[in-house]
Subunit: 280 residues, 2 copies
Amino acid sequence: MTSDSLLQRILQESHEMGTAEARVARFVSTQPNQVLHMSMAKLSEECDVSDPTIMRFCRRFGFQGYQDFKLYLAQSLVPSAPFAYEQIVAGDSVENIVRKTARNSLNAIQRGLEDIIPAQIEAGAKLLNGATWIGIYSSGISEITGVDAEHKFQRLGLRCAAVNGRKKQWLHAETSKPSEVALIFSQSGHTKQMVEVATAVRARGARVVSITAADSPLASISDVLIAVTPYERTELLTPIASRLNHHLVVNMLVTSMAVISGSEFPDQLPALDSWQTDKI
Amino acid sequence: MTSDSLLQRILQESHEMGTAEARVARFVSTQPNQVLHMSMAKLSEECDVSDPTIMRFCRRFGFQGYQDFKLYLAQSLVPSAPFAYEQIVAGDSVENIVRKTARNSLNAIQRGLEDIIPAQIEAGAKLLNGATWIGIYSSGISEITGVDAEHKFQRLGLRCAAVNGRKKQWLHAETSKPSEVALIFSQSGHTKQMVEVATAVRARGARVVSITAADSPLASISDVLIAVTPYERTELLTPIASRLNHHLVVNMLVTSMAVISGSEFPDQLPALDSWQTDKI
DNA sequence: CGCAATATATAGTATCACTACGTATCCACA
DNA sequence: TGTGGATACGTAGTGATACTATATATTGCG
């Protein structure tokens, strides 16, 4: 999906159109909401053009036809609430901090949603589902994400472990079995330790699924890459945002694995919790 | 517009439909993206129903017809559309799961933003800032939130520990010092163990900050309550949503503590990370 | 001016959405 | 158990719709 909205593209290209087609562009971009409920005939009448002109107009933007165009137009018209990143500064009131933290999180997820490719999630889920054991590797700030993944995977009944610490990671990576899968979290994909773990794991015949930045060293040596764009901003005072999308991916993986394998829902878990903890 | 998305409405009403119409509901709610590019004929064939059934299905929700329905469906599928809750069901495509997971998270954060009271965050932050040591207590699904908090607090230079496990929690709670503060995470506020920990801590003269549901037993015996409304929905297949707001609170606390204490920003931490991990 | 390339319109067709009507299925009550 | 009436669903038919193939005008250029 491009960053430009459809309407903007129409306005831009309208200069390179013929007179008839330009009339269509003009009408569509000024009255898009009406267009949604118009047929080609009505629109062509309104613009004083023939309907093939409208077809050409639609195809110009890569759509299959009028219907396809209308569908996309409808989607581009939905009022999206953009949550811009708001930096938190030293003097901010707590009220501001609360608001900004929440909005930054919203922003992070929205951006993540644009980036994450379902097919990659699916590929990862399938690979993980077939593993006899999953080693979950991460370092530094991502360790908690790893623990989170371990927790949720175990709820699915999977055998796995969050492997933290350099020595333990080496130990596990170098004893990988071909039927196993390593799940690696790395924001940048440039962390030396993680790249080495991936290399060691693959040398032993096991597969690597990594959640990291595309076009990174780690990404290039992974069997399945789940690309998550790291935040270029200095995340001053907004500790969660950068990791939020990794959490999101974990949840998507867990849910996908559950659905793909057709297993019982993983989250009969409220029930599971209440089973092991007394309530009063 | 109701608070529920179209897909959610379909799912709900599907129980009050006949068998044929219910088949349509099931297909539409699990493969909405495909439906967008289908004609009535194709959809009716796919669902083994006749096209008038599909008409009736559309009209049931107040649409003029199939076209109208498709238009609205398209709009409700755009990722950044108003974030209504959407339940994930067994047959969902991975694409669906990705979208729904993200949107449910967005929805959760938005609700959190409405619920969380800045003054409570501020009170909590001040108390925590003054503690000589912070014990972080949680159980079950919330343990990871606790670990997360521990991690972030330590980055602020605070002395703290995530205390997990019943016995360890008892040990720590019963040896609390008056200058210490206990931070307790509990979704419901009804978990017996957590209430007992809070009681024991207070008996020793220490303070209790709890992130839990208002009007719960735990809330009533806390020095500072940070109220987070738990989700009443059965969170089938959406493991994050219920905990997301707790994470949010942790971040708000951390940031507030940093700002209140006037300390250096906690997240010079990207830098901190790169200091301890080799990059390639 | 005349050729070529582009832009636009006409005519035609398969398909589509939608309607009117008919048939089966289910349920209350005799 | 049987029967009337309502509900749930499908069949058949129709005008409109999106799209195509082809023809005509319009423009630019040597």
